[in-house]
Amino acid sequence: MDLLSVQHVTAGYERKPVIRDITFSIPFHGIMGVIGPNGAGKTTLFRTIGRILRPMDGKILYCGRDIAGMARREFARKVAVIPQFRSVPPPFTVEEFVSLGRYPHRGRLSPFTREDRRIIAENLSLLGLTDFRDRKVSALSGGELQRVVLAQGLVQKPELLLMDEPTAHLDITHKIRVLDLVGSLSEQAGLTVLIILHDLNLAGAYCDRVLILKDGEIHSSGAPGSVLTQGTIEEVYHTPVRVGNNPVTAKPHIYFLPQAGTAADAAGE
C-alpha cells in the first residue's frame, strides 16, 4: 500500500476542471517532485491533496482511507501543508508562531505538555531559529520567514509534508539549505515529501521521483534520470534545452539555450 494514492481525480474552480483524471501514488518515504509549466495545474493538485479543494470526481486515499472522510484535526496530524503564497503574518513571536503547529495534537483547553515544548525547541534549533525565538515574525526577512513556516509544519510531526514552491524568493544559499534539510528529514526521519518546484535542476538534484504535469494531465513520471530528458522537457516547456549530468552528483542537469547567446556565438564564429 502507498502512503497516498490519487485516483482519477478531476478538480478545479467553479465547476471548471483544471486537472483531469489524475492518477498517481506517493510511496512511503522519499521526495516526490511536481513540475510543469505555469497553469499546468500543479497548485490545483496541491490544494486538492491539502483538502482546500474538493475533487469533482475521483478520490484521494491516505493509507487506504478516503481523505474526504477524515476529521480536519486528524488530517492535520498526518499531513502538514506549506502553501506558496503567504501574506504578512500577525505579529506573533517566532516561538509562538511555530507553536501553532502543535495545535492539531492538543485539545482546545489542554495546555502544551513538556513533549510539545521539546518538539518546538528541537525544531527551532534544527532550523537555526533558536536565537530568533523572541523576534516578531512580521519583521523577518523572506528567507527567515520561510524557515519559520517550515518549522511550524515540522512541529506538526506529519508523515507527509506538502510544499508548494518553498524556495521561491530565496537566494541560492537558502534554497540549498531548505532543500538539504528536507532531504535529510526524508532520509533520517522517514518523512515523505511532495514538493512543487519550478527549478528543474533543483527537482533533478533533490527528488527521488518526478511527476510532470502539462495542461492538467500527467505527462510523465518516474526517476529524475528517466523523466528529465531533452525530449520531454522540450515537449512540455516548448524551450530548447540540452541535458547533461552534474559532474559531482551525476544527477541530470538542464542547460538552457538562450536565443541571443546562440546568435552571438554564431556571429563570433
Binding site: R72, R86, E96, L100, Y103
Partner: protein, 327 residues
C-alpha cells in the same frame, strides 16, 4: 513584557477606574459618606441611592460595554485579518442607529427603544452574514457587505434627518455619539445575558490564533474555519448589537484597545483576549467618569471622550510603532 504582569497591571487599572468612578461624578459627596454607603447596601439617604442605584449600575454598564467592545474588536481584527477592523465594521452600528432614530422619531424611549435598536442591529447582522455565507465567509465579502450596509443604513438615517424636526435630529445625534447617562431599566439584565457569550470567547484563543493566520493556513492546522468563524462572528456581532442598543455608538474603543493591548502582550490571543477585556472595561469607566466631571453639572456624551482620547492615542501609537508591528 511579561504577560502575567500585564494582566495584573490592567486588573489594577480596572479597579482604579472603578474606585474613581465610585467616588467622583456629576454630584460630589464626601468620600467618607460614599464609603459608608458602600458597606451598607440598602441604606437610605442620598449617598445610598447614589452609590447603589446610580453609580454602581453605571460603572457595571461602562465596564461591561467597554470590555465587550474591546474583545469584539480583538475578534474582528483576528478574523478579518485587518488592523482597521472594529466591532462596527460589519455594519452592526448602521442598523442600530437606524433603529434608534426611528424610535426617537416615534417618541419611543426606554426599553422599547433598546429593543427596536437591537432589532436594527440584528437586521444588519443577518444581511451581512447571510450575504457572506454565500461566498464561504470570505473576508473581502464580509468587509464589503459590512461597508455597503453601513452606507445604506446611514443614507436612510440622513433621509430621516432631512425630514425630521430639529429637536428629534438633535436627540438622535446625541444618541449616535454614544452615552451611558440614562441606561433604561433592564440594561443590567441584558448585559448579564451577553456575559456568557463574552466569557466563552476566552476559550477561543487558540482558534483566534489560527484564524489570524488566514483561512487556508488554519485549515491546514486542523481548524474547521468556517464553523468557528460563523460562531465567533455571530457571537461578537450580537454582543456588539446589545452594546449599541444600550449605549449608542461609542467610538474607537473596539479599535484602539486591541492595538494598545497587543503592543503589551503580543499577538497571542491567550493573553490578548482577557487583557483587552480588562483594558476596555477600565478605559470606558474612566472615560465615562471624565464625561461627567469635565463640564459639570452637564454631561458630555462619553463617545466624544473615547473618540478624542482614542484618536490621540492611536496617532502616537502609529508614530511610535515600527512598521512591522502595525497589524
Amino acid at each position: 513584557m511579561n504577560r502575567g504582569l500585564v494582566f495584573l497591571i490592567l486588573l489594577a487599572f480596572l479597579l482604579a477606574a472603578v474606585a474613581l468612578g465610585l467616588f467622583t461624578g456629576g454630584m460630589q459627596l464626601p468620600p467618607g459618606e460614599i464609603a459608608r454607603a458602600l458597606f451598607r447596601p440598602g441604606s437610605d439617604g442620598i449617598a445610598g441611592t447614589l452609590v447603589w442605584e446610580l453609580r454602581l449600575p453605571r460603572i457595571f454598564m461602562a465596564g461591561m460595554v467597554g470590555s465587550a467592545l474591546a474583545v469584539c474588536g480583538v475578534v474582528f481584527q483576528a478574523i478579518l485579518r485587518n488592523p482597521l477592523a472594529e466591532p462596527y465594521t460589519l455594519g452592526v452600528s448602521g442598523g442600530g442607529s437606524l433603529g434608534a432614530v426611528i424610535a426617537i422619531l416615534l417618541g419611543i424611549s426606554g426599553l422599547p427603544m433598546v429593543l427596536i435598536c437591537f432589532a436594527g442591529c440584528c437586521l444588519s447582522i443577518g444581511v451581512v452574514l447571510g450575504a457572506a455565507s454565500l461566498k464561504g465567509f470570505s473576508n473581502s465579502m464580509l468587509i464589503l457587505a459590512g461597508i455597503i450596509m453601513s452606507f445604506l443604513f446611514s443614507s436612510v438615517v440622513m433621509f430621516i434627518f432631512a425630514v425630521a424636526s430639529s429637536r428629534e435630529v438633535h436627540s438622535s445625534i446625541l444618541w449616535l455619539m454614544g452615552s451611558l447617562s440614562a441606561p433604561p431599566a433592564g440594561s443590567v439584565k441584558m448585559l448579564l445575558m451577553i456575559l456568557p457569550v463574552m466569557l466563552s470567547l476566552l476559550f477561543f484563543a487558540r482558534d483566534l490564533n489560527l484564524l489570524s493566520l488566514g483561512d487556508e493556513p488554519s485549515y491546514h492546522l486542523g481548524l474547521d474555519a468556517k464553523r468557528t468563524k460563523t460562531y465567533l462572528l455571530l457571537g461578537a456581532s450580537l454582543i456588539t448589537g446589545v452594546c449599541v442598543a444600550l449605549s449608542g455608538i461609542i467610538a474607537f474603543i473596539g479599535l484602539v484597545v486591541p492595538h494598545a493591548v497587543r503592543g503589551m502582550t503580543g499577538a497571542d490571543h491567550h493573553s490578548l483576549v482577557p487583557c483587552s477585556m480588562l483594558a476596555g472595561g477600565g478605559f470606558l469607566i474612566l472615560s465615562d467618569t471624565l464625561s461627567q466631571v469635565i463640564i459639570r453639572p452637564l454631561e458630555l456624551p462619553v463617545g466624544v471622550i473615547t473618540g478624542m482620547v482614542g484618536g490621540l492615542f492611536f496617532v502616537i501609537y502609529l508614530l511610535k510603532a515600527r512598521p512591522a508591528e502595525v497589524s
